[in-house]
């Protein structure tokens, strides 16, 4: 097929002119107009769709689109005017029904009309940019019906009245409402908003304003919240049933504002039923309601949080400054733990475990725990009590739980170094007197402290445990090497590394001869294997078990302190001893001696000694005898174990002084560290950095830091900058 001249195919339009009958347009229009009438009169069944479509098509084709369109507008408008009248005369409840019915009719008619005029819709209308048929139908409906003077306001007030009825508990025709609302929505979002939604929101606001005022006057907080919640849910349900889904947020905002936001303060502060009352009485349900409702309004949760915080701080402050509860440290700490548990539960159950609430809880505890400067000591005493006896019969998991709770309190302490000091003291007593009930629990707590505070905090504590273990081994070695001593009194020595244990003054006393020689043997044995070390006997910390036979032959085993042992052994050689003789022979310091004698002569059930005169206090002229009439139900009698006590005032001052002394080198080290790395730094920044560095151990006092800086300047570690005296320089 090559070389053939291509012939282009062409399709040509009709060349002949169709004769247009001038009356053609009018005639055709009339047919369609008639059809429209019939449609509106529910008489559409007799019409031929094909014929009507063709007629409409032809009109458009022959350029009579304008006539068709304007005719449509006129006809439809006329019908709608009629419809409008019929709706207007409807009475009462029939109004809406009539409206609804006519709307449905109109839609059906519109659809048919649109189908008939589809060609116009698709060609004429886009070309002329006129409104499409369907939309036109809606707009006309809107203009002639909805916005007609007689209908517009009546429609709105009817709708609002129905809503109001429903709010007051009556049942309404929800289906009808839904249809009417849907009609408004179909007419365009601005119709829905202007003709219904806006007024609806205004009226609702007014309604809830009144209602909330009524409720708040007569209800208590819990009831009010319940009612508010019910109303809120009602509105949400209403929207779901017959309003535009976009209205939900708007109406809930109205309810939230009127019922909650406007009355927030009053609710929270209601006497006998407000937030504080709920907290005190663990009203989880009410608290939960409050939380969920207040969550919806701005500042709602922060208000709850603030009230909770200030209440908690006040309660806590009273707790820790209460003189009564300070008398029993274990009780003191237990009450703190209970308070924390209580609020933990509240936050978990009612406040959906919110982190911000947890933080508020923590900061409150941190605030008031540190109001009592003895908190570190008391917490250590609490732990001491538990580790001594309180954990018998408690499962391992429960032990962990208790210790974890204690750790939580520990974290709140600002003066962690004070806690360390006390803990060391108490631990030392526990270890040396063999008072630990549960070794695992002890270790577990050390591990927790290490995780929290680092290796340095616990290295000495761990050293104490190591010493105990090593001493056991040493004793075994000692007796293995000296089998001849197996028959004599049994010696148990704990060798303590000085740095790890709390510092004690080394005061010795005169031991009975048998013990003295035994101790010497031990010393030589020990120093034989550990040259270069120095041993000092701490006679104020030891114990002894001695067998005693009394006047009527009654035998008892007495568990006493070393001092007490020294005193009692003297009576093997004398029947009577005066105070002065005892003092001379034993060389025990006065106050200790008095305490020791008092515990053996003046305490009922432990009076292995008899004193003349029989007064309560020990006088320097008193005389002592063995109490031959001593009786006890038990064979083994424990006299004068020194329990870790709450410190007396002078002891407390001493400990605090030691803590302050220990802090000075720590502050200096921090200053030097910082200055060494920064070289030049101004005063305020030095204070800030030092405080930050020491935060994990204690809260450094700016005045104390200043003192240390001045001391460092004097010792020429630092100097002031010559130009700006607020700036320090590091002197290498």
């Amino acid at each position: 097929m090559s070389n053939q001249k291509k012939r282009n195919f062409q399709i040509e339009a009709f060349k002949h002119r169709v004769v247009v009958d001038p009356k053609y347009a009018e005639r055709t229009w009339k047919i369609i107009e008639h059809a429209i009438h019939e449609i509106y009169n529910h008489n559409a069944s007799g019409l031929s769709f094909e014929e009507l479509y063709r007629n409409a098509y032809n009109m458009v084709l022959h350029k009579f689109g304008d006539k068709l369109y304007s005719g449509l507008v006129t006809t439809m408008s006329a019908h709608l005017k009629e419809i409008s009248k019929s709706i207007q005369v409807a009475q009462g409840a029939l109004f809406l029904e009539e409206l609804n019915r006519k709307w449905n009719d109109h839609n059906k008619a519109l659809q048919m009309i649109r189908d008939i005029l589809m060609y116009m819709d698709r060609t004429y209308i886009p070309n002329t940019r006129k409104t499409p048929v369907h939309e036109l139908g809606l707009n006309l409906w809107r203009d002639y019906i909805i916005h007609s003077g007689k209908i517009q306001s009546r429609l709105l007030s009817t709708l609002l009245e129905l809503v109001h009825k429903e709010r007051t508990g009556e049942v309404i025709d929800r289906g009808l409402m839904r249809n009417i609302i849907k009609m408004l929505m179909d007419l365009g979002s601005s119709v829905y908003q202007e003709d219904f939604e806006k007024p609806f929101l205004e009226v609702s606001a007014e309604f809830y304003k009144v209602e909330s005022q009524k409720f708040i006057e007569c209800c208590d907080c819990g009831d009010y919240l319940k009612k508010a919640e019910i109303r809120l849910n009602e509105e949400i349900e209403r929207v779901a049933h017959y309003l535009d889904v976009k209205s939900e947020a708007k109406i809930t905002n109205v309810v939230e504002k009127e019922m909650i936001a406007n009355h927030m303060t009053r609710l929270v502060q209601m006497e006998n039923s407000g937030l504080v009352n709920m907290l005190l009485n663990d009203k989880y349900e009410d608290l939960g309601k409050m939380y969920n409702l207040f969550k919806r309004v701005p500042n709602g949760l922060s208000m709850i949080r603030d009230v909770m915080t200030s209440h908690l701080r006040e309660t806590g402050r009273q707790l820790v400054t209460d003189v009564e509860s300070s008398k029993d440290p274990v009780e003191f700490v237990q009450r703190l733990l209970d308070e924390r548990d209580k609020y933990d539960k509240i936050i978990c159950q009612a406040f959906s475990n919110s982190k911000t609430f947890q933080n508020a809880l923590n900061s409150s505890f941190e605030y008031f725990i540190n109001l009592n400067s003895r908190s570190p000591e008391f917490i250590s005493l609490f732990v001491d009590d538990k580790l001594r006896k309180g954990l018998k019969g408690v499962t391992e998991e429960d032990v962990e739980i208790i210790l974890d709770k204690v750790m939580m309190l520990f974290r709140y302490l600002r003066e962690k170094d004070v806690f360390e000091k006390y803990y060391k003291q108490h631990l030392a007593k526990r270890l040396l007197l063999g008072k630990t009930v549960c070794d695992d629990a002890e270790r577990s707590l050390i591990v927790k402290l290490k995780t929290e505070c680092g290796y340095q905090f616990t290295s000495k504590l761990e050293g104490m445990f190591t010493d105990m273990k090593t001493s056991e081994d040493t004793m075994q070695g000692f007796y293995a090497n000296h089998p001849e001593l197996a028959d004599g009194p049994t010696l148990v020595v704990q060798v303590l590394t000085t740095g790890s244990w709390p510092t004690q003054p080394t005061i010795t006393c005169n031991l009975p001869t048998e013990m003295a020689t035994l101790c010497e043997k031990f010393r030589s044995h020990y120093l034989g294997t550990h040259t270069g070390r120095r041993l000092s006997w701490q006679t104020n910390m030891g114990t002894a078990d001695i067998k005693a036979t009394f006047g009527k032959g009654q035998k008892h085993e007495l568990n006493v302190s070393t001092y007490q042992m020294c005193v009692l052994m003297l009576f093997n050689n004398s029947d009577m001893l005066s105070y002065k003789e005892i003092e001379q022979a034993t060389e025990i310091p006065t106050s200790d001696l008095k305490r020791c004698l008092q515990s053996m002569a003046c305490v009922k059930g432990k009076n292995v000694l008899r004193k003349e005169p029989m007064s309560k206090d020990i006088g320097t002229d008193d005389a002592f005898f063995v109490n031959d009439k001593f009786t006890s139900k038990f064979y083994k009698v424990k006299i004068g174990t020194v329990v870790a006590q709450k410190e007396s005032e002078p002891e407390k001052l001493e400990t605090r002084q030691r803590v302050e002394e220990d802090r000075k080198p720590q502050i200096e080290a921090a200053v030097v560290r910082i200055m060494k790395s920064r070289r030049v730094l101004d005063h305020n920044n030095v204070i800030a950095e030092v405080t930050k560095q020491l935060q994990s151990r204690f809260l450094a006092n700016p005045t104390e830091i200043k003192k240390r800086i001045e001391s460092l300047i004097e010792r020429e570690f630092l100097e002031r900058d010559s130009a700006d005296r607020k700036v320090y320089r590091y002197l290498a």
Binding site: K706, K707, E710, R720, R725
Partner: protein, 228 residues
């Protein structure tokens, strides 16, 4: 040891009959002559065995100058001489100092004192003089601080004229406080700064958060308590 010659006698004012020449316009010959005079003056007061003027000599000098031994002008003189050891002037110090003053006789020295005062009070010199005053009190080797009593006297002497109210209050405070038994150089220099910078007695612009020494923080607190 040869007996110390009595220096109490006032030296015959032969130096005053020397034609007064003010230091600037002397010829070379006159210069050397001037140095001789300075030397001679030195010898009249010096302890011959020590080779320098000792406290007794200074006392004599003071008497001749008509100035009290404890007068601040002697301290100023020591400063001018850059004297290292309290109570002693070495020959070098004497020579350099008097030359700097432009005097070679006792009467000239006496006349030069008011000018010396003015020179010390110049802002550029004053701080130096003030610091010198403290150092001058460190009589022992390795001594870093001065006792409170002496400090009080020194404050009176050095700052008393210019800052009378501050010195009075400060001295009162130093005497009754117990925190510090001695004052170190850092604290000393800050006393001056305090007087110069802080409005008194209202202490309005004193801020304890600045790096003032703690002793001044305490002083201000004490003052404020007294005032309320």
């Amino acid at each position: 040891m040869p007996p110390r010659a009595s220096k109490r006698k006032s030296v015959p004012p032969n130096s005053s009959t020397v034609t007064s020449s003010d230091g600037r316009s002397v010829s070379n010959k006159a210069k050397t002559k001037g140095m001789e005079k300075i030397d001679r003056l030195f010898n009249t007061y010096a302890n011959s065995s020590l080779g320098m003027i000792d406290p007794e000599g200074i006392e004599a000098l003071c008497a001749d100058l008509g100035v009290d031994y404890t007068d601040v002008r002697i301290l100023m003189l020591a400063w001018k001489l850059k004297s290292e050891k309290q109570g002693y002037f070495t020959r070098e110090e004497w020579q350099t100092g008097l030359k700097a003053l432009g005097v070679d006789s006792l009467s000239k020295l006496k006349k030069a004192l008011p000018e010396l005062e003015k020179e010390v009070e110049k802002p550029s010199n004053y701080e130096d003089f003030y610091t010198y005053a403290f150092r001058y009190c460190l009589t022992e080797e390795k001594q870093k601080s001065v006792d409170i009593e002496s400090i009080c006297e020194l404050l009176n002497l050095v700052l008393g004229v210019q800052f009378r109210p501050q010195v009075d209050s400060l001295v009162e405070y130093l005497k009754i406080q117990n925190d510090y038994k001695v004052i170190n150089a850092d604290q000393w220099i800050n006393f001056l700064r305090f007087c110069k910078e802080i409005s008194f007695p209202d202490l309005r612009n004193y801020d304890a958060n600045q790096a003032w020494p703690l002793i001044l923080d305490n002083f201000v607190e004490w003052m404020r308590e007294k005032q309320s």
